[in-house]
Symmetry: C2
Amino acid sequence: MTTTENHTPMGFGRMHRKEDARFIRGHGQYVDDVNLPGMLHGAVLRSPHAHARIVSIDTSAAEAHPKVKAVITGQTLEGLNLAWMPTLSHDVQAVLATDKVRFQGQEVAFVVADDRYAARDALEVIDVEYEALPPVVDARRALEPDAPVIRTDIDGKRDNHIFDWEAGDAARTDEVFASADVVSAQDMLYPRVHPAPMETCGAVAHMDPITGKLTVWTTTQAPHAHRTLYALVAGLPEHKIRVISPDIGGGFGNKVGIYPGYVCAVVGSIVTGKPVKWMEDRSENLMSTSFARDYHMHGEIAATRDGKILGVRVNVLADHGAFNGTAQPTKFPAGFFSVFTGSYDIEAAHCAVTGVYTNKAPGGVAYACSFRITEAVYLVERLVDVLAYDLGMDPAELRKRNLLRPEQFPYVSKTGWEYDSGDYPRALSQAMDIAGYAELREEQKRRAVSGDGPLMGIGISFFTEAVGAGPRKHMDILGLGMADGAELRVHPTGKAVLRLSCQSQGQGHETTFAQIVAEELGISPDDIEVVHGDTDQTPFGLGTYGSRSTPVSGGATAVVARRVRERAKIVASAMLEVSPDDLEWEKGRWFVQGDPDSGKTIQEIALAAHSDLELPDGVEGHLDATCVYNPPNLTYPFGAYICVVDVDPETGQVKVRRFVAVDDCGVRINPTIVEGQVHGGLAEGIGMALMQVMAFDEDGNHLGGSFMDYLIPTSMECPSWELGETVTPSPHHPIGAKGVGESATVGSPAAVVNAVVDALKPYGVRHADMPLTPAAVWRALQNRPLRTDLAIT
Amino acid sequence: MTTTENHTPMGFGRMHRKEDARFIRGHGQYVDDVNLPGMLHGAVLRSPHAHARIVSIDTSAAEAHPKVKAVITGQTLEGLNLAWMPTLSHDVQAVLATDKVRFQGQEVAFVVADDRYAARDALEVIDVEYEALPPVVDARRALEPDAPVIRTDIDGKRDNHIFDWEAGDAARTDEVFASADVVSAQDMLYPRVHPAPMETCGAVAHMDPITGKLTVWTTTQAPHAHRTLYALVAGLPEHKIRVISPDIGGGFGNKVGIYPGYVCAVVGSIVTGKPVKWMEDRSENLMSTSFARDYHMHGEIAATRDGKILGVRVNVLADHGAFNGTAQPTKFPAGFFSVFTGSYDIEAAHCAVTGVYTNKAPGGVAYACSFRITEAVYLVERLVDVLAYDLGMDPAELRKRNLLRPEQFPYVSKTGWEYDSGDYPRALSQAMDIAGYAELREEQKRRAVSGDGPLMGIGISFFTEAVGAGPRKHMDILGLGMADGAELRVHPTGKAVLRLSCQSQGQGHETTFAQIVAEELGISPDDIEVVHGDTDQTPFGLGTYGSRSTPVSGGATAVVARRVRERAKIVASAMLEVSPDDLEWEKGRWFVQGDPDSGKTIQEIALAAHSDLELPDGVEGHLDATCVYNPPNLTYPFGAYICVVDVDPETGQVKVRRFVAVDDCGVRINPTIVEGQVHGGLAEGIGMALMQVMAFDEDGNHLGGSFMDYLIPTSMECPSWELGETVTPSPHHPIGAKGVGESATVGSPAAVVNAVVDALKPYGVRHADMPLTPAAVWRALQNRPLRTDLAIT
């Protein structure tokens, strides 16, 4: 790991995060730190049933509680036009259930009281009569003709059905498969997981009864989208809504959607005329906020005998829970799962996905998935390893033979996506060099022969992500496009403020985006204030998720800084009394060509722009610019990961011994922050591969209501990461950056699982589903004799 | 007075003020309403001497006070580079005096304590040893060779001297005077007055020790200028300063400059790490914040025997107090006093003004003076009446003969100012019609003959203002130009937010500016939020004073709305799939020419702009615009006022019986607000004419420290105003508006004084100086027999 030097670069490079001054000293300001005079507290009553009809709700005892100020039910909301709220996929979700409850933990009522304790106490005395209904817990049950009906699809035609979509050319794919030497097939499950950010969701809502202005401090990754959704759905006037996202304690997609608690806090404030705070506890967050994955996948891969991959064929049953919360790309119907063709040069591919309703909490954009790329990458990288197993080939060698070659970029995939740039073989080679791949295989052989110590496994994954949701041609959310805005204002004294629509949840935006401006203008990052998280202070945009901050807002920032530079050129030309055409830019100043001493710094130009300097007609006296940026294309970060594990066959315990990650996210603005993002994502990948699963029993009871039940990785489970990098700038981004927020989460689970399965190979294990807990590994080994012929390939 | 109808016009017209919902219910939020956790309180130690050397300051007893957190003196400030602060005229003022005190009430030390009471108590035990120096109280003494030295001028050459400037052609004026039949001369004093806003000045400063961000809630009319001044002078980084002006309880120019208390609150917060509140009491505001006027004027007017005015010649001695706080136009050295040629078609004019230091508090931009136009208008309007007296002519008749004629506009004055538009004779005729001028003169004659009742006087004034400080060619403040910014953002649902750099102090900006957008775009004013008073939320600009909000920010608003309309046209053309050239605008929508049903409303266009609609290359997906507006010229509101008074010769008591005001401020955005501004200004005019004067004794002791000593008018002194209007749109403003904030204050004092002098005419009174208190009037009548020959003209 490289040391961060403690100086401020005038542009890209390592520097300490500007926000850490407050975080390290414990002075971050989170939603729960917002305390307003007269503030009341809310609590949510949740359904104990996964599926039940509501017969009646009696709130009289709760209302009689001396500290209770209001009890809100679905009936209250009807009157306010807030009974249903949109999910990000054009579905709607009941804010508070009136007719039925559809998952355990669903919101039924909301109590507002003087304090949090009284609100909780009052929940106990709300009398809800339920008539239990049979639940659907397994997605495979949902479409059976006699399955209990949770909901019908949007057209009202098919019970429990949400969508069918497909990508690729089915006929051509079948042809390719028919002609292949080898077809390897594998069923696999990507289990339901939860992003589990350290900060749970919550809001403080204040509807000022005098001004009619609603201010909502809220844990959201997308403040502007939230504001517009409140306005569109509830008819609250958009100019009278201010959404403030202060510091956010992690998001990972969990904080994109609107949850009933947010809406209830708003309604509580409307009803009482006081500010109302609502904060989830850990159980509520784990039980009712957006899950991820829960995909039953059947994959097939076709190849020649010598390992040339010809095609991939995939069928997915997608469990979206009780409401379709997943942001649904509408313009490109196959969605991002379309990049299931991976990083390989193949001839044909086809994918079909069916989405169904089940009696579980709604799935979301959640968990660093770039809209289902995580599942797709895992699937294809497992399939490649299964093929290697079947062919008896080294999985590295198999990948080498099939990776896209540098000269193929820009590369249009078999499902129509244009990969921007890359040198994939170089990334894999670098990872293998860092890992010492050949030596590792030697060691593995030695150990297998000697039988000493635990089983050793080596797993590889190669991933390509499609991130930077923004291009008009690809998608929208609820009719809103996916552009992001940036405003850059250079004050008279040459200090600057950059206002962005994206929203940090800990990624270091205040540093990264200041560095982009610094690079373009030559103003020190220390002299640039980055403002986000307040709809009153920032331009409209769709927020931060799907690794889109650098691809979209980063693009907007570079463009807006260049516009300021061009304005500065005109002002400088008036100051220097020369034509703008005679000026030349050097970071931080414009000077007259051939006369380097003649220059005016950006600071001098800023003061002059605000002064009484005579400027050409139509040129206004300031040094500001705005931009709303729609990227021309997605960006395609990629990487090669190698994981080395030790597996104890007696206990099933997996230890990740080494992890090598070579990432290519294009130009790196602040390498230290990039590495931090990779570290976090790798930890998450280990968590998903080895321990995380959000389980339910057959009645739909949620079994992961605390961190004792739902396990997330700590530093104890993580090795000392070994990082490498290649840099192939994206030609579709102003500064060539691609984004890195989810890369490691997307890419790493397959490397870990491939490593574990590789370790178990001597026992004839070809596949095992995540999470590879000690129990799961131990079970996989039962009744399987050790086969030395398999151990040594 | 016209009734305000309670509906919202889609543009200009009468509507209730949007801000009144909170003001009427007592929910305005003023600086003193800001209370932060852990906030400390500051108090200022002030000099008891008008002029003294500071021998020593001993703060040890104050520092020992158990509730005192800090005692700040000039020495503390040296270390922070905050010892001197700029005034608006390139002068500097000691924040806390170290060497000398130069006026009674000057700031010497600042105590920060747990509460206001402890802070005040601690002031008592600060031991300052003074060595008294002789003071200069009368400006006429300041330049005498043996006068005590307060300061030297900026070049260090001449003691107590600030500036000499002149305007007009002295030689040509002398020629005109030499050839004239009649020359009337008069010395007059425009007394020192104080704006006396209901809310005194104050600030809450919070330097966050974690983020290094300074937030200052402050009573300022110019938040951006304040921020830049803090940055320029103290080197505080501008992007780390946020100046918030919440609701402001009246400004009238008193709240333009930076006062030492503001700076001390900031320093107090830096030193203690806590928020610090400082609020003046009434005495402090009256004693030490910016005064106005205090001009000793000698005027001469030359005319032909039949009343054709030929020229005006003026000498002024301007008392600016101990520091030159007056905003000083630097590019047009004669400043706004140059419009002393009034509203008349004359041949030549010359004016010379000398500014001097005296031992009084610094004068300011203060008090609705449009940079000294108030004094100029008073001077010339009194001179015209003196000429009428000398010629034995009716003053209305004399004015009629000399007013500029409509066909002379645009009119370039003898001092080079370009008056934009007007029909002056029509305004005077209308005022005379409303007043029933001929009947009033008849009544006056009858009363004089009968001797019944009090003396009756009829006074006229005609004024032309030059307002809208902004054109680059005219002026700057401290090197900053005088442009103002506007940003208009139309949200996806078609509601809008307008962000302005100007700052309301009660003028109804939230309503007026919303109406300009409504007029241009067809969005209801109710759907437009106007934001000002927060440097973090608004574009840069110089703020509100000198009636410049409508001329400058109003222009910016109209321009920015038109830019949004043009953007909307491009979006609509993409929606309707026609060329933009085929579209026609009708308020609120674009439609295809010849097909009125085809239109898209601005709200539909806003949603589409934020959606995935394909827009032409280079067109970004939003409906926002920004503008920084430098007006092409000043605007010239004008008006004709007629005042009728009754004067009791026994007591000197003046009663204003009637007051007719015909104002032309160009296009009226909200006539109710315009009338409110006129009402307020007329009351102020009566106050200045009849009661207000900030007096000092010969030792420089300030004699007006409360509203028992310094009298301001109430509704008891005001008649039921009789208003009229003419509308000649300004060709130099996008919507033809001129501004009206100071018109009545500027125009009315002369009408009242002319009326009183007219009433006293039977006693041979030709002039009497303001304020015409009962004592002053009574004195003017002493030893003057009633002359019936003078009573009946």
